[in-house]
Symmetry: C2
Subunit: 156 residues, 2 copies
Amino acid sequence: METLLLDRLLQIGELFQRDMARAFDGTGLTTARVHLLWVLQHAGPSTQRDLARMCEVTPRNITGLVDGLEESGHVRRTPHPTDRRSVIVELTDTAAQTMERMQQEHTELNDTLLAAVAPEDRAAVERGIAAIASHLEKLVVDALTEAAATEEQAAS
Amino acid sequence: METLLLDRLLQIGELFQRDMARAFDGTGLTTARVHLLWVLQHAGPSTQRDLARMCEVTPRNITGLVDGLEESGHVRRTPHPTDRRSVIVELTDTAAQTMERMQQEHTELNDTLLAAVAPEDRAAVERGIAAIASHLEKLVVDALTEAAATEEQAAS
DNA sequence: TATTGTTATACTCTATAACTATA
DNA sequence: TATAGTTATAGAGTATAACAATA
């Protein structure tokens, strides 16, 4: 029985997650926390509210993640300069270095995997995967929009 | 800034998970429980021990998942015919139907996504993704083996 | 009155360790 | 003595709801 393309794509996601979990085993970092660090690295110092929006989780959840990352020395909470309700979260210097290294390794992994593809297939793979990602995103967004509309209708 | 192929692959995994979570919203099913049902559908009635091995989680975890699935009417616990320590878990009729439908939808999604790829690129995409999955698996397995060896050395 | 973050509470997934029943 | 499953306990991630401080 041949393996579906979709199954191989999902397998890649699982393998990646497993590898990341292994890499951070013993450091106190987890997938969710690394994701927050990643968002912080790209967005720069941010309020917890904004982090909640960018991570697509509740503000309460951010409180917990930042608590853990503060304790492990990866982030720092500082007061917002003008809004005394807000808290600014920023990477510590060591965490910023860690994230840079991580981003570099990520790029290297991308190159390694691309090198596993036959040169004459590479362009087609890039095009094909982009098309699949874009199509799937549309499908999911449409399904979510429809579900939201149905719910709204039910509420009225 | 162009998106890395690796990032698109990871995005596909996330989108798929999000879509699955949405599809089962309100049914009491979750990713972990659906995974167990999936394993059960492919392996047929199994002991909890075997389910733990196949799902790569602890036996304790299977107890919890089966508890939930039993309560929601998706699986049934029956005594093992010869070993009174063991419990056989099997899908209920309705769950078996649900899983068949799900598998069909899965195949349809695969076809839909494949249809989003230009016909002349399809063969290359199939080959390329198989190569990437296989290469990544080797990388992860090697890393895990190495980590295990290091740990063993530390223990001696 | 609206917004930001936190406390309170709860549920799922996950793990390890101790225990019971059985092999 | 070893194995199958459960109870006990713990921790992470997630959510909603109520609340305090501030805007």
